[in-house]
């Protein structure tokens, strides 16, 4: 995992060294003279070896010093303050919603397979999987914000003012991100359970007089959940990426909006930092998924 993290951070760092356009030119603007540019370049350390700068940036990053924003004249850390919490809260909320919706629903659909409930939901699932989260967000803004007036579109309450108000403003964005993902997980869990139902051990369990429900609960679920857990862990990466877009729909002041603004302003230290943080989250989640599946299924550890 460490090697992957190092590789990712190195790639991200190098990518931003290749950009056409010199930050020094932008910073100086109309004050540009070759002497001043050289002086500033030296001051910012841009005239030294790339690998040396990478090492400094990396050690700084690990200890919490993430460099200085070109645009705001503050450290990257100050710029990101409070924004990370919004994105983190939104992503975790969406992720928990995915789990809370899809696990019971997937089990229920498999339990009552072929009944009307199952057929309706399987058809609806296909549609829900095709909805882009940001369009769902726009629909929510219209239906719940403008028509039903459950929230003020574009409004936001910081967690320091009112914690519950903060969570309230995150509910609809989180749902917009969660519903398409939940549809995928539901479908995966349902088919995973139905696959397991054909195994020999299920027949054995039935023949010992277990009901369909107890076979499902005590025997099948443990096996059927394995592929689902891996998938659910990996969706967190997509959810974080999805929140970049959905934050824009609901005008939430999170990392996604900062990222877009920084891309527009060519504020590369900020962009670089956000990208590496998100990549780290992704790698870490995959690692965590591996550990969890190993704990549930000891056979994987041997392989």
């Amino acid at each position: 995992m460490l090697v992957t993290l190092l590789l990712i951070s190195l790639l991200a760092f190098l990518a931003f060294q290749l950009i056409p356009g010199d930050p020094v030119t932008k910073l100086l603007g109309s004050d540009y003279t070759p002497e001043r540019a050289a002086a500033l370049r030296h001051e910012m350390g841009l005239d030294r070896n790339v690998l040396v700068r990478y090492w400094e940036w990396l050690t700084g990053f690990v200890t919490g010093d993430m460099g200085v924003s070109y645009n705001y004249g503050m450290t990257v850390r100050q710029v990101m303050e409070g924004k990370g919490a919004v994105t983190a809260a939104l992503s975790v909320m969406a992720w928990l919603l995915v789990i809370a919706i899809s696990i019971p629903l997937g089990i229920a659909l498999a339990r009552w397979q072929g009944r009307r409930l199952d057929r309706v939901f399987v058809a609806m699932n296909q549609v829900f999987m095709a909805i882009p989260p940001f369009f769902l967000g726009i629909l929510f803004t219209y239906v719940f914000g403008l028509v039903l007036k459950l929230f003020v579109p574009g409004g936001f309450v910081g967690p320091d003012k009112s914690f519950w108000g903060f969570l309230g403003y995150l509910i609809f964005p989180a749902l917009a991100i969660a519903i398409p993902k939940a549809a995928m997980v539901t479908k995966l869990l349902r088919s995973s359970i139905l696959n397991q139902m054909n195994e020999d051990y299920v027949r054995t369990a039935y023949s010992r007089g277990n009901s369909r429900w107890s076979v499902l609960k005590d025997h099948v679920l443990r096996n059927a959940l394995l592929p689902v857990i891996t998938f659910v862990a990996m969706t967190l990466a997509d959810i974080v990426a999805g929140s970049i877009v959905v934050e824009q729909v609901f005008a939430l002041p999170g990392l996604g909006r900062l990222l877009l603004a920084s891309i527009g302003n060519r504020d590369y230290p900020v962009v670089q930092c956000i990208v590496v943080i998100i990549a780290f989250i992704v790698v870490f989640m995959n690692y965590l998924a591996d550990i969890v599946t190993q704990t549930i299924d000891p056979r994987i550890r041997l392989g």
Binding site: T4, L7, I8, L11, A12, A15, F16, L18, I19, P20, Q126, V127, M129, A130, I131, P132, F134, F135, I138, L139, T141, Y142, L146, P153, M184, K187, L188, F231, A237, D238, V240, A241, G242, I244, V245, Q248, V249, L259, L260, I263, R266, Y268, V271, V275, I278, A279, V282, V283, N286
Partner: protein, 268 residues
């Protein structure tokens, strides 16, 4: 190739066929000029003359959506074409020859696929700027690893089969075996992933254009239209709803097709 005729495939084929027909017709004819403004017909609700209403400049929304769907479709198709072509070559060669190059490519693949693709695309756009062609290249490059991975696994499996050995006995060279004998046999595995890749491309393009870093005016795109439409949600909700529905139909059609062909949706 024998297609399994099931409900998913039939519905997917029907939806995709209708969308393709609309897009093709839209390339030569739309009810109105998508960019023609009409000061007397601003913000009309859906009516007989304008089935999906008009926008704030009095432009016919149906015509704009048909044009936007066409643009989105072309971008997604071009993206998939780039990813697939490069993925076939890279995956084919690494899968066939193996060795250290294979190892290196696969590690690189892992690193790239660790990022959510929209994030990487945003970074590429940040580095090189937006616009229609840059979006196609950026997304296309990002799609290479997932195609290369599928092709590689399948080629590695097929190369030890008997028909490859018999082709080699008949004196066929490596390239002939790879692209003439093996390639047709991996098409059935590849097709569902192509459909899934297409959907991911549509969603990525729509999201980026919605964020304002994708397609730039005057080029149309469904994502950009949603961005515009959000400002008029209160006065003209049909604008956003019809643009979003067009995206959903495109994605739904290909998703069902892919599923009908035996692919697992959402797992590209």
């Amino acid at each position: 190739m024998r297609l399994r005729h099931n409900k998913n495939f039939t519905w997917g084929a029907a939806i995709t066929a209708v969308m393709l027909l609309v897009i093709l017709v839209g390339m030569v004819w739309t009810p109105y000029d998508p960019n023609a403004m009409d000061g007397k017909a601003k913000m009309l609700a859906p009516c007989l003359a304008h089935p999906l209403g008009t926008d704030n400049f009095g432009r016919d929304i149906l015509s704009r959506i048909v044009e936007g769907a066409g643009a989105t479709f072309v971008i997604a198709a071009a993206t998939v074409a780039i990813g697939l072509a490069a993925g076939l070559v890279i995956g084919g060669l690494t899968g066939y020859y193996g060795g250290w190059l294979d190892e290196v490519m696969m590690r690189l693949n892992d690193a790239v696929t660790a990022f959510p693709s929209i994030l990487l695309a945003l970074v590429l756009i940040a580095l090189f700027g937006g616009g229609k062609y840059k979006i196609i290249v950026a997304l296309g490059v990002l799609f290479i690893p997932s195609f290369a991975r599928i092709v590689r696994a399948e080629v590695a499996r097929q190369k030890s089969l008997d028909y490859v050995a018999s082709a080699r006995l008949m004196g066929a060279g490596d390239m002939r075996i790879l692209f003439w004998h093996i390639l047709p046999n991996i098409v059935p595995v590849l097709l569902p992933s192509v459909a899934i890749g297409f959907n991911n491309a549509v969603l990525a393009e729509a999201s980026m254009s919605y964020l304002g870093v994708g397609v730039k005016p005057p080029d149309a795109s469904l994502g950009r239209m949603l961005n515009e439409a959000q400002g008029y949600l209160m006065s003209a909700p049909w604008y956003a709803i019809s643009a979003g529905t067009a995206i959903i139909l495109l994605v739904l059609g290909f998703g069902l097709l892919s599923e009908g062909m035996g692919g697992e949706y959402g797992a590209a």
